[in-house]
């Protein structure tokens, strides 16, 4: 179907195909709510170290797929989610920040570190990890602020810091910048890419659900196109852009071509 030779350029962007190890594999996953089939035999390998976007129309089941990866939902019989690494090393960022308004920024970041298996962690260690995560998103000066005192963009950065504090190797993001204005969104896009490449963060793999074609192209190594409901993997595209990504890359012919190609496929659906 593709005439652009996108597959050939894959190597320049993503990690070398031969050395790729899957982080999570989705095997034949279907999901049915009552009579409604949301996911239809989804097959997908998420590779270690890649930035993967899941693109699809609103309500197609992209977010449902993330919840499957998180273990919040179970696939129908026959389907399987295989975690090749530690399934506990997964972070999550939602579209809304979902911060506790009664906790300060730093206390919000400590939430995942103070529940479940991590509740055993010592106070000092917890605080140190939270401080480091806050540092990573550049909000160290706001540690004592309450969410209500922070802008939407800052709140979302706190949410990202909260996910990073638990030192995940895989970060799942559900339209993380969908509720933000265009300026903040663009800024955070590149900030997230820098975090992902930052050796101080434990992040290896990022899976981002989005409905923005541009966002998916500028950020990811590979883009998974989902079909309309019931969603299945329609197509997987490699993005022919190198790292580190810059905002100017949006003017490169490779960027424009990829966006065009994706648009065409969306239309053909």
């Amino acid at each position: 179907m593709t005439t652009l030779g996108l597959a050939e350029t894959e190597k320049s962007g993503g990690p070398d195909a031969a050395s790729r190890k899957p982080a999570i594999s989705i095997r034949d996953c279907s999901l049915t709510f009552g009579d409604v089939r949301v996911l239809n035999r989804v097959e997908l390998d998420i590779f270690q170290g890649e930035f993967l976007s899941i693109l699809g129309p609103s309500g197609c089941g992209k977010s449902t797929l993330l919840r499957l990866l998180l273990g919040l939902l179970k696939p129908d019989a026959g389907g399987e989610i295989v975690h090749h690494g530690n399934p506990d090393e997964i972070g999550i960022v939602f579209q809304k920040p979902v911060l506790m308004p009664w906790l300060t920024a730093i206390q919000n970041i400590e939430v995942p570190l103070s529940i479940g298996p991590m509740a055993k962690m010592g106070k000092a260690e917890r605080r140190a990890k939270a401080e480091q995560a806050l540092e990573l998103v550049g909000l160290a000066d706001f540690r004592r602020h309450f969410p209500g005192q922070l802008s939407g963009g800052m709140q979302q950065r706190i949410a990202i810091a909260r996910a990073l504090a638990a030192e995940p190797s895989v970060l799942l993001m559900d339209e993380p910048f969908g509720a933000l204005d265009e300026f903040t969104r663009e800024k955070l896009n590149f900030e997230l890419l820098r975090l992902w490449k930052n050796p101080d963060s434990s992040l290896q793999t990022v899976v981002m659900v989005t409905h923005s074609i541009q966002e998916s192209v500028i950020m990811s190594d590979r883009i998974v196109m989902m079909s309309k409901r019931p969603a299945r993997v329609e197509d997987i595209l490699a993005v022919p852009l190198s790292h580190p990504r810059e905002v100017e890359m949006e003017e490169l012919p490779e960027f424009i071509q990829t966006v065009k190609e994706l648009r065409k496929r969306v239309k053909d659906q």
Partner: protein, 251 residues
């Protein structure tokens, strides 16, 4: 003048103005004491007797209020964690709510006697429903994603309750406390009407037998003051505890 000072000044000025008008009206129309005493007549009967009766009513109301709120909140927690219990008991709670406490008061006096406990029970019955309904609402009003966050990080049921549901329910709980603070006084006074030897309700009743209207007015005013004190304390507590709502409004 600061906005805060104005907030206090305006009601005070209006209240004083109203009292002066009242005093003037009694003088001008020469109203008899048993019909409408002037504020100056009412002030003269304020004394130790009134204060001790006020203390009794306040004690009964406060005890009923506290017991009802503890019991109501615990019931709400059980409801939220067990659907069968909620389904079975919620209609009963509504039935209790729709039964007027005035109709129950004589029964309470038969069961619990003319002492404190019948009034405390009347207060409890009237305060129970607001806290139950609001706590159930507040404990359930947790954002779905927040629940997912806790579940994704393997938070236990207890952690979800303690770190998420409970703080989330506080604004709802506080508004129930404010609603029932005045209801608690109503419960105590209704109980006193039926059978008591002290308290503001008893004072109102006895003064009505003697057509001692100034005393009656003083008791009514004292009942209002009881409600205001409780409401004031709770409003202050709400501001301190639910500080994030104020922050939200400002944002």
């Amino acid at each position: 003048m600061s906005a805060k000072a104005k907030d206090i000044m305006y009601p005070v000025v209006y209240a004083l103005g109203l009292l002066i008008l009242w005093e003037a009206a009694v003088l001008i129309f020469d109203l008899p004491l048993y019909l409408l005493p002037a504020p100056s007549d009412v002030v003269q009967v304020i004394g130790a007797d009134l204060l001790s009766n006020m203390g009794v009513t306040m004690f009964e109301a406060l005890l009923g209020f506290l017991l009802a709120n503890v019991l109501g909140f615990v019931t709400a927690v059980i409801f939220v964690h067990s659907r069968p219990v909620e389904k079975g008991m919620f209609p009963l709670a509504i039935a209790l709510k729709t039964t007027p406490v005035v109709a129950l008061a004589p029964l309470l006096v038969i069961w619990l006697g003319t002492g404190y406990w019948s009034k405390v029970a009347a207060s409890m019955i009237i305060c129970f429903f607001p806290i139950l309904v609001n706590s159930v609402k507040g404990l359930k009003a947790v954002e779905h994603e927040a629940w997912e966050l806790f579940t994704a990080y393997k938070g236990s049921r207890w952690e979800i309750f303690w770190k998420l549901r409970l703080p989330n329910s506080l604004p709802y709980v506080m508004s129930a406390l404010k609603i029932s603070s005045s209801l608690a006084i109503v419960g105590a006074i209704v109980g006193e009407f039926v059978g008591a030897s002290k308290g503001l309700g008893y004072m109102v009743l006895v003064s009505s037998y003697h057509l001692d209207t100034p005393v009656m007015f003083s008791a009514i005013a004292a009942a209002a003051v009881c409600g205001l004190i409780l409401f004031g304390i709770l409003s202050w507590l709400e501001k301190k505890m639910i500080f994030w709502q104020k922050v939200d409004e400002a944002a």
